[in-house]
Symmetry: none
Subunit: 177 residues, 2 copies
DNA sequence: ATGGAACGTTCGTTATAAGGAACGCTCGTA
DNA sequence: TACGAGCGTTCCTTATAACGAACGTTCCAT
């Protein structure tokens, strides 16, 4: 938990509150917390408990994660943004990601667990993706699927690319043994 | 914040931890919190700070809200939750959705614009989906694709189903003319 | 002008979440 | 059998989040 996250939480809280035309005192009172508490949070200091967050989320009628969720995906490593969307823990386990790549970038990924497969659907732009010895071009709206239990790679050309990716771990094996 | 929420948080934490085959001591140490703290949380007592929740979410590689999410998320009247994830406005335009369906529910959808296709990837559970005269079963981790310029349908059986869906509008036609 | 009410902030106090050192327990292993 | 390593739990202590009563503002209504 760093200062940046706390700042975004504060800004987010204040935005949600003022968007409703509510005063700080009013929100604090309705949520059942001290206004000094809320004041500190909006300033980006403090480290609220789950109880406090919960009361605020209920009062603002906002899904819980929204209070803390960064405005945009924060991770930018070499022009690639990745955000975990959801995880399925049935058999097989499935991880779902949203991913955005800048033009002319390449992201290499190590092999996942044996039998794992990846599924790609391109939302905008196009990219070249797959096992390093068998990469394919995937255009806007298209999907592809490949074995991910070997080194693989995502590469963009002249345009940005946005895509959904799922990793399917075979036969109920755990992704993080 | 009531006792029930704390219990579900505890159960959720414990499930995520054991699913990875991690010991309580290990997770606490990796996340940088005292194991007494984690122990208390898993028992459904305590009221963690955002810092503590954050460290656990990062270590478990779980989206933040997931830790706290209620067992039964709010559903619309038909037992189906839909959330727009992203929109691509290249050619062709693409809409990306996350979708969750309760057991034994059926959602009918009208035809989209001519040439539109839908792409489904199942994250957990399984469902029967496609044009009403040609529906297919799709299991966890699998994908399918079908013409969406005719009436189509999503149907679950005995289990919940979570999926990613993309709608691809053909030839640059706008989804909402 | 002047009182009152509401606003957001600051500060000392109190409640409590997090930390850390025990404990009893179950395993393998010598 | 005895030992050590690791497990999860239970205390007690310490750090700190939440509270509540101030405070200085602003802005109306008197």
């Amino acid at each position: 938990m760093d200062r940046i996250s706390l700042n975004t939480l504060g800004q987010h809280l204040q935005h949600l509150r003022t968007a409703r035309g509510w005063s700080l005192s009013y929100l604090a009172s309705e949520a059942g917390i001290a206004k000094s508490n809320l004041s500190r949070l909006e300033q980006g200091n403090g480290n609220p408990t789950l109880d406090t967050l919960w009361r605020l989320a209920v009062q603002l009628e906002v899904p819980f994660g929204t209070l803390v969720a960064p405005v945009t995906a924060p991770l930018d490593e070499e022009g690639v943004q990745v955000q975990l969307l959801d995880q399925g823990r049935d058999t097989p386990p499935v991880d779902a990601y949203w991913m955005r790549c800048a033009p002319w970038t390449e992201r290499r990924a190590e092999a996942h667990t044996p039998g794992a497969r990846e599924n790609i659907t391109v939302i905008s732009g196009h990219l070249v993706v797959g096992p390093v010895d068998n990469m394919q071009i995937v255009s806007t709206g298209q999907s592809t699927s490949f074995a991910a239990d070997q080194a693989h790679c995502y590469r963009t050309e002249e345009s940005w690319a946005t895509l959904l990716m799922t990793i399917v771990y075979s036969g109920g094996e755990e992704p993080h043994p």
